[in-house]
Amino acid sequence: MFAFIIRRIIQAIIVMLVIGFIGFSIQHNIGDPVRDMVGERVSEAERDALRDKLGLNDPFLTQYFRFVKNACHGDLGISYFHNKPTMEVILRKAPATLELVFVTSIIILLITFPVGIYSALYPTSWFSRFTMGASTIGVAVPVFLTAIVLIYIFGVELQWLPAFGRGDTVNVWGWETGLLTWDGLIHLILPSFSLASIMLPLYIRLIRSEMMEVLETEYIKFAWAKGLNRYRVWLLHAFKNTLLPVVTVFGVEIGILFAFTLLTETVFQWQGMGFMFLEAVERADTPLIVAYLVIMIVAYLVIIGVMFVVINTIVDVIYGFVNPMVRIAGTK
């Protein structure tokens, strides 16, 4: 476990250095920060002086190391467009994306578990057949198409739900949240359901197949033989054991949700990090792009690492409870 954590950290550092290097060399080769700062009318000598002061005449590697050193202090440069530290710009946009992913995860859990379990218990019912068919098609539908269709139906034709933006937000200890206002919640419905649509088919299938597998095992047969109440067998014996693999996959794949926020946020003009990133690409705002990439990837690797450690610990603990053999071996 310890070795794993160390390896993760080293990996994260290497990735960070590589991304930083690519980003930095692009930034280095394209555009002239001095011209961006002072315009055309300043004399050549003054420009050179400024360039010298900013350290732009230093060798490439020196500049790169300075960039890395600043990055370690949390200083990832200043956005050309916003004219503010990139860290600040990104942190201001983060709540929107985090809230979107949070609500989406809740929707996914609330829908996939009942539907997946039902279709495992009654695989021949019309509802199960329908969900299996729908989930096959669902895999082939790209998220932006779902989003556009939802906007067209609920936003344009029926006009029931707002089609873009975050609505009203309230500031709670520096966190701009849309979860506490009615308007904010209404604005969340379409984006979170479209984002959820990429995961729904996969998880329904996963839960269904895990559950069906568990239902075939010996201990379930034994539970039936004991004459237990069927809800007790289904929910307590079978469901409990499907939970672990499903939650594991969910924890690992949550990063995919973050990747797809780029698409959802563009469609709904959701003022989050993904929308900001694409705007930055359009404006060729290189410092902001590089900062976003570094933060995203580091955050991503850290999340995966933490998930792995947490889940492994939980597995160890649960095994101690579930499997008496482990417990006996432990007490000896």
Binding site: Q11, Y152, V156
Partner: protein, 305 residues
Amino acid sequence: MKTWQRFIDSYFLYSFKRDPVAVTSFSIFVFLVVISFMAPVIAPYSPYDTSTIDIMDSEIPPQWMEEGDERFFLGTDNMGRDLFSTLLYGLRTSVVIGIGAVLFQALLGIMVGLTAGYLGGRIDAFLMRIADIQFSIPYLMVAIITSAVFQIAFGVGRFEELALPLLVIIIGISEWPKYARTVRASVLGEKNKEYVEAARVIGLNRRLIVYRHILPNTLTPVLVISTIQVAQAVMSEAALSFLGLGMPITKPSLGSLINAGFEYVFSGSWWITLFPGSLLVTFTLVIILFGDWLRDVLNPKLYKG
């Protein structure tokens, strides 16, 4: 002739003919690919020929609707191009990028997988570590990052000119670890078998053993993932173009058409988005269904009891 006869008698063809889903999806796939490549012949207009495009014709609804124009079967898009012709050309672009990207990522992945698997040791550890790291980042993220980097490096104008080959490279880069892992795993399984030892004992050189003896035996899993990867690549292309990081609107692909139509959804012009959208879904769906069948047939381990 003999190979052909063997193919006709094979279990492969037999189970294909007995599976209606596989037959249907494969025929739709072939049909779509054929009509997209025959676009210059079938399509009444060419979206690349600016002399036939009139901006006054923009946003005309499909023929069967009230304001429809009988010249344009499926209506026109926001630039006044005939949507039916543009769809055909767009599908062709998507197909070319999809297949090209899969070939590129397969090439990259197979090279890495073969090298890592056969040589082992340090090289293996190094290459697989890179693959692992990239694998832990979602492919879409990698694709978006790469195209953002390319767009900045080439500049927007040049990027649009070179969009097609660049997209092949971008999607290829974002997906190669899947191939590398698959190939490496089967190389590890193959390399200690008797036939490889025999080849080594004869004194064949390493390159010949790897390419002529091991490679053919690792191709079944490659084929299985390749079908699904084509669907994946077409969808990545659509996603990138939708974000404005892929094909420009002047060179239609399914993604850039959906992107172009998106703004007009609010004014009620649903057809510009919906037709390319449903074409995209149909195309990826038939590939996925066919790929599922292929996986079941070629992978006896997965036979459902």
